[in-house]
Symmetry: C2
Subunit: 259 residues, 2 copies
């Protein structure tokens, strides 16, 4: 009996035309049959948004035996959900998201459509990985990212990932030979200090643009921020059980009685 | 010197006109000065989305000494960010979100705009709580929810919450006297099994609506699902460090070398 090739679901948050999606499909196509279901427009910063108050469109872009590409009008998480329900005939062996144009390290994991799509895959019980390159440019060099994304995906196909987890992979803006290797990390404690840019529209009404400054509070050398700054690819295992187990005993000591 | 009254930031994801927001402001107004910054339209299921490719509007709805209400065109997370940068003159003592019309227990914490707004508050270093009532009705009975929300918020103002955590509070659809009390819980392992409803538009083009069935895999009696089913309010401490620390040693054993 011929062993079935791995089935790999690919999505992203920069949309179906993003070079990073092309790069990821190139990285994955030697590992198995790929099905791409990506947003029909950019969806950066969508976090784990889903479309519940609007309809969704789903259209085939190009469909061959070993490569099927679809676009969906929804969010990255919608793409994973609709792929599983409407396109895939069996549970995929791997769900990958990206390669994002820009970092999803540390606190960015929370805002990221790329990572939320991978998290949705993990919730569905699919080994899942989100990939991001620290380069916003449309003509970014994905050569190193492709090599390492393939290796990390191969590892996951062969060895799996611990249950209830997914991987957040960030790749520094370096050539393939300059990248020093891979570090397994924890999420650095960092945040964005927002500054809203205030402007006037032609009718003299105020409007605002979100801008911000990234601040890393974390001096640890076991964090994703440290790894990236020092020329390594960061791999953070991420979980979707958000329970802060260590806080339970503190909360149990308080009184919750009402009159 | 007169002690300053606590400053409480309130938001939600059902929008500025939602009865649940009114109920939460009623619960909080006896505890301090309140500033409401809520979306100008419903934002359910927005997760941790932020607006980065569009402008934001921010308008005062009604502004009194001890109650200031604003509406913002963005997501729940945008509301918290813009409140901190543009409206509040000092860091609030508490950030509360809700009261959501519908459950945000177990896996719903991930999709929830209500909880993401509270998480954004926590990232900003503000003690933060998301409240949800298991009743979608516009005329839902918030009497019990108001009592317990006030008590839980009072606890947090007096005793704080462990650093890096926030609270996810869900309230069963019961009268104030029927609610059995409060249980500190962990997030139940559950998921939505999606089913996309397929329809044809007037031009005979297909479109889809996301629907789904909630499946709880978790038989534990220490979960939020168990508490709610048994007449208790569930309080889950939630963290925004998503690192799956237990998976790090497994990942460190694999080879990441590329040619």
């Amino acid at each position: 009996m011929k062993k079935e090739k791995p089935l790999i679901l690919i999505t992203n948050d920069d949309g179906i035309t993003a070079p990073g999606l092309q790069a990821l499909s190139e990285a994955m196509s030697v590992l198995g049959d790929i099905v791409v279901v990506a947003p029909d427009s950019p969806q950066s910063g969508m976090g784990h948004a889903i479309t519940i108050n609007n309809l969704l469109r789903l259209d085939a872009v190009r469909v061959h035996d070993d490569q099927k590409w679809y676009q969906c009008s929804g969010t990255p998480v919608d793409c994973v959900k609709i792929a599983i329900d409407k396109i895939l005939h069996r549970k995929p062996d791997l769900c990958v998201s990206g390669i994002n144009h820009g970092s999803n390290s540390s606190i960015n994991v929370i805002y990221s459509g790329t990572m939320s799509a991978a998290m949705e895959g993990a919730i569905e019980g699919i080994p899942s990985i989100g990939f991001s390159l620290l380069d916003y440019a449309l003509d970014a060099d994905f050569a190193g990212a492709i090599k390492y994304a393939r290796k990390i995906a191969k590892n996951v196909l062969e060895h799996g990932i611990p249950e209830g987890t997914l991987l957040n992979v960030n790749i520094p803006k370096l050539s393939a030979t300059e990248i020093k290797g891979v570090k397994i990390c924890r999420q650095a404690m960092a945040k964005w200090e927002e500054e809203f840019d205030e402007r006037l529209d032609p009718n003299k009404r105020k409007y605002y643009w979100l801008t911000g400054k990234f601040i890393n509070y974390d001096q640890g050398e076991d964090t994703d921020e440290w790894a990236l700054k020092n020329g390594y690819i960061s791999v953070v295992p991420v979980q979707f059980d958000f329970t802060a187990h260590h806080a339970i005993s503190f909360l149990n000591k308080l009184d919750y009685h009402v009159e």
